[in-house]
Subunit: 233 residues, 4 copies
């Protein structure tokens, strides 16, 4: 995982220390000395690798998001159904945050609300991840797996929002200990809101062999195509 050059190892060592310290104390309450102590280097050494405390913070995500992105993309290729892709994404998020609690804390408690972070290159990866989810949703809609009237942006917001909410709960309250256990039920819940009512109906009808009492009524309760504000990119 860490690069092999000695210099790169030092950098990793500092980054891991920073991640740990920032996760525990928050960005402002953590001092460079805290980090250097944890990393077992001097304060000045940190400045050999990072130009400022802030840059150190923004360097923590590093390639992590991108790597996650790539791994997820690789897996998704093998999942023909978009429902399963959604399911996979949720699972992956939870698995990642479960196994990287410090990273989770830095990301969710510090970076997510940092205006400057939006301009950092690392944020591009976050955006790409986000775009991937959007694509999966749009694709699902196009393929008819998901309801036509879905606002993909809203769907994405509900997926990411719920995940984030649960991750933050875990960080701050310590519960649930294993997010991963929530991934199936959560996927079920969210997907229920996404799949077509009739599509499902048809499926049942097929199973039911000729039972079509409710036939033509497409009972989608809300006709409004939920266009909403598509600009909420």
């Amino acid at each position: 995982m860490a690069s092999s050059s000695k210099s790169e190892m030092r950098k990793e060592q500092i980054l891991r220390a920073a991640e740990k310290i920032f996760a525990r104390k928050g960005f402002h309450d953590a001092t460079i000395s805290d980090v250097s102590r944890e990393a077992k280097v001097s304060d000045a050494t940190i400045y050999e690798y990072f130009s400022s405390k802030e840059e150190l913070l923004f360097s923590i995500p590093g390639k992590t998001t991108r790597k996650q992105l790539e791994e997820i993309e690789a897996i998704l290729e093998f999942l023909p159904r978009n429902v399963d892709k959604i399911r996979c994404i949720i699972k992956r998020y939870f698995w990642f945050y479960d196994s990287h609690p410090d990273h989770a804390a830095v990301t969710m408690l510090i970076l997510k609300q940092n205006r400057k972070f939006l301009e950092m290159p690392a944020y591009q990866d976050v955006q790409e991840m986000s775009r991937l989810i959007l694509r999966v949703i749009e694709e699902g809609i196009a393929k008819g797996e998901f309801r036509k009237d879905l606002d993909p942006y809203l769907v994405r917001a509900s997926i990411l929002g719920t995940i984030e909410h649960l991750v933050i709960r875990k960080i701050l309250l310590g519960k649930p200990e294993r997010l991963i256990d929530l991934s199936e039920p959560l996927a079920d819940l969210l997907i229920q809101g996404m799949i077509p009512r009739d599509g499902e109906k048809v499926y049942h009808i097929r199973l039911a062999l000729g039972s079509d009492e409710h036939g033509a009524e497409k009972p989608t309760p809300r006709k409004t195509p939920a266009k909403s504000d598509r600009s909420n990119r």
Copy 2:
């Protein structure tokens, strides 16, 4: 809204200034001088009303959450259907954050991830609000409006999580300008995931029709009753 005594007015004046400044600069980057300048009082005066910068921050929510809670509760009484209650809650949240952007920023970007805030009395109100939502969900399940296999905690997480996600987006990216416009589509989306499926309905009908391969006991496609971890209180 503001208390009438002169002293209380000063306090309100300072709180409003603090809300504005903290919303724009964040807690750590804002100085007491910034706040006192905005409030048109001296630095020292702030300390007449609040014992520390942190106490000033934690005083910003004040009675706001409680008031929202009470108003929502008052309205919910008139909505017999829990679907509408959910819809109303979402709408109210968005309306509130739309009309109180500074409060939104302080709440979502500063307080929500502050560990100490969890111990402040104001956080109790947040929790009660949260409990109200949970109750509405549980009630809906009990009444049969929502699917029996829902995990109410998970549903609540998806409601609050999505709202928060969208509010933060608005704060940081400025889009969408009006969250309120998202409330109907979002309610639709979330509620879709909560109400019993037509498919299930059909399925039940089928059962009545004499074809009963898998019987009444297993009416849901997903067998796992999505109990998830109920401990994520």
Copy 3:
């Protein structure tokens, strides 16, 4: 003791509060609020009576020293022997500090080392007191009660210095609880150093007579073994 006018009573009330507070916390660590709280008046009221915190401090001695001075002078008149005058002065000092511990603390710990206090009128009284002692010593020398070769200034320094040293010990260490018990032994000790030696006396006799080691008269005035309070470690 306190003047009768209402205003004068207020002043006394504040002074007593200040004395108590300054004694306990020291001048700098005590705040005007501490004093006003103790005196049960408002901060501002203190400024009605004293122009500044420092003036308040310098007003604490008030007429106390002068009164002591006058009382001592009155008594000394009745003591024809200067040894007894010295004895009386020491006793009086200890009695006063024993019965006015807060005054003792303010005087010994705060005022005594305050350069500005030297210019205050109240310091005049201290000086007069000091001069009185000097006079008693000089008079004793002139009368032949004390050794001719004494440096009266040095003698005074040893009297006052020892008293101060013991008072400060009591204030800081709490021991001895009663200074007054030390007054006799201390007077014995100091007076021993002041009165003409037997040896000298005898020597003079020898010169006159040529014989006689020292005669029968062992004039050591105090036989008391000056056990005093051994606990004032």
Copy 4:
């Protein structure tokens, strides 16, 4: 005297500056900036060496007292008579305060009345010094050099008290310029109060044996009429 390591030299430099500034302005009226300016370092540098202003103050005595103690002890070994030991101690005290006026001011005006200082390690040295004096007195009593009925604690109080009184006079009033000139007369005075009347008498008799040119005019072994510095008003 100063430690050799560069860091120790900086520390010494700061301590000397602090001693000078505190001596002139007092602890509370002196600012860290005053000290840092005098020491020609930055404010922050002071905090590299001392954790607080108060710790800086308490560090001023350092090893000084202990060193004095050891040097005095070394000398006392060569003085068989305890009278001379007392004499030596007084002389040493005066010599030290004469040559270290800033140290004297810090010790006598600031530390001596500081309750917290009593808990500092440096105060242990002061106590040991004090115990040394006590031992000399007790030994003198045991050896019969001093009167059996002396209270050693009281004697010590009179020795230290007188010294302190005179040192403070010098600091505050500037007089006498040279304390050392007072050491002989003071020692004479104090010792007079300590030695046995008869023992001394015998001694005089021996001296007198036949040589009586100067008879009555020069009755004291010490010729200096203890005029001392009469200006120490």
